[in-house]
């Protein structure tokens, strides 16, 4: 592990994050990363924040 974190924006979907060990949310809560790659919610509607739960698919594209 080089300590490098990569983030890819999935258009209309989540942020795909590789190389992170912890994701800190808006409230300052720390969420340990347990997968080789994680999807972080970008639409704000996930029921499992900070992780994506595919709720964005139910949100109209222009509202994301």
């Amino acid at each position: 592990m080089t300590g490098e974190v990569s983030v890819r924006v999935c258009p209309g979907g989540p942020l795909l994050v590789r190389g992170a060990e912890v994701v800190v949310d808006d409230a300052g809560e720390r969420h340990p990363v347990t997968r080789p790659v994680v999807a972080v919610c970008a639409c704000g509607m996930s029921g499992r924040k900070p992780w994506c739960d595919s709720t964005h698919k139910a949100v109209p594209a222009q509202a994301r």
Binding site: R8, C10, G13, L16, P36, V37, D53, S54
Partner: protein
């Protein structure tokens, strides 16, 4: 694993040649009927494929490479693939952009599969959910194994991404988090037998066909594009249904371990969808554009077989609801 019970002449021939003798299997004529939803043909294929996965207690391990059985497998596979290509051939794909992940998304967006997850969410009884788990067991107890056969057959970025996805499917280094183990935990918690192949005798031809399509694509290098397209469609149509199914499981009061499998897939498959669409299929086709058509064929096959299975289950369950009411 014990050999399953025969369902007709083809599976009888396969089982008979596996148990009775060490000699190479003899030839058998296959009728003209479709194999896609034929329980006998699909069971025969399932048994032939299992020789490459876990094998059977009473069968010598070198029968995996029995030329007579391989010849029969090839005959059945050729028919199965031909029927699948014919069935999905009319699926409208391709906006002509050449971007395979966009084409996959288009294909997935056009999918109007029967609403199995919605039924399990809102209406299903405990027995319906148990029935669903039992039908899925022939594929989920070897979850991700068919796709692992593709790893040595591709290279570069697509290979790295597939390995990354599989590592997550295989628990990220934690055996108790293996997705197939989580499914076994779910079966046990639902009062079902979690041993590999326990319900092969009970599941429908279409449940076997869903499992067999993954082996068909995974075990032939020629079909590596289809295997990855199938994976992408499977992952991209899993997260939202998994959320509904988990809620249905909690509604009928089954233990937490049953819902836990589906909760894991809400989160995991939201990731895997992106990895499979862009990092695996996108990069694979970038590297070798000739694989593009088969990536779409694999995806369309996944959606087609899921739709057929869904229709079958909903019809079965709605019949039971009428009898009950």
């Amino acid at each position: 694993m014990q050999l399953p019970r025969e369902r007709g002449p083809i599976s009888r021939h396969v089982i008979g040649s596996l148990v009775r003798t060490q000699d190479e299997a003899g030839p058998i004529a296959i009728g003209a009927a479709e194999v896609l939803d034929d329980g006998d043909a699909q069971l025969a294929l399932w048994i032939l494929y299992e020789l490459h996965y876990r094998g059977f207690d009473e069968v010598a391990e070198d029968r995996e490479w029995d030329l007579g059985l391989l010849r029969l497998r090839k005959t059945l596979e050729r028919r199965f693939e031909h029927e699948l290509r014919r069935a999905v051939g009319s699926v409208p794909v391709a906006s002509g952009t050449g971007d395979v992940s966009a084409q996959l998304l288009e294909l997935i967006a056009a999918d109007d599969s029967p609403p199995v997850a919605a039924f399990l969410h809102r209406t299903a009884s405990r027995e319906h959910i148990v029935d669903f788990l039992r039908e899925r067991s022939v594929q989920q107890l070897k979850e991700s194994d068919p796709q692992s056969f593709v790893l040595p057959r591709i290279g570069g970025a697509a290979k790295a991404a597939l390995a990354e996805l599989q590592y997550d499917e295989y628990g990220g280094g934690r055996p108790e988090r293996l997705h197939s183990t989580l499914f076994a935990d779910a079966l046990r918690a639902a009062g079902l037998d979690d041993s590999y192949g326990a319900y092969t005798d009970d599941v429908s031809a279409l449940s076997l066909a869903n499992a067999n399509a993954m082996s068909l694509f995974g075990l032939q290098r020629r079909l590596r594009g289809a295997a990855m397209g199938h994976l992408a469609a499977f992952e991209a149509t899993s997260s939202v249904p998994a959320r509904k199914i988990a809620a249905g499981i909690e509604r009928v009061g089954l233990p937490d371990a049953v819902a836990a499998y589906f909760h894991e897939h809400v989160e995991a498959d939201a990731v895997h969808e992106q990895v499979a669409l862009h990092d695996i299929c996108g990069r694979l086709v970038e590297e070798d554009p000739t694989l593009g058509a088969d990536v779409l064929f694999g995806a369309a096959t996944c959606l087609h077989l899921a739709a057929l299975s869904g229709a079958e289950l909903l019809e079965r369950w709605s019949g039971e609801l009428e009898v009950a009411s």
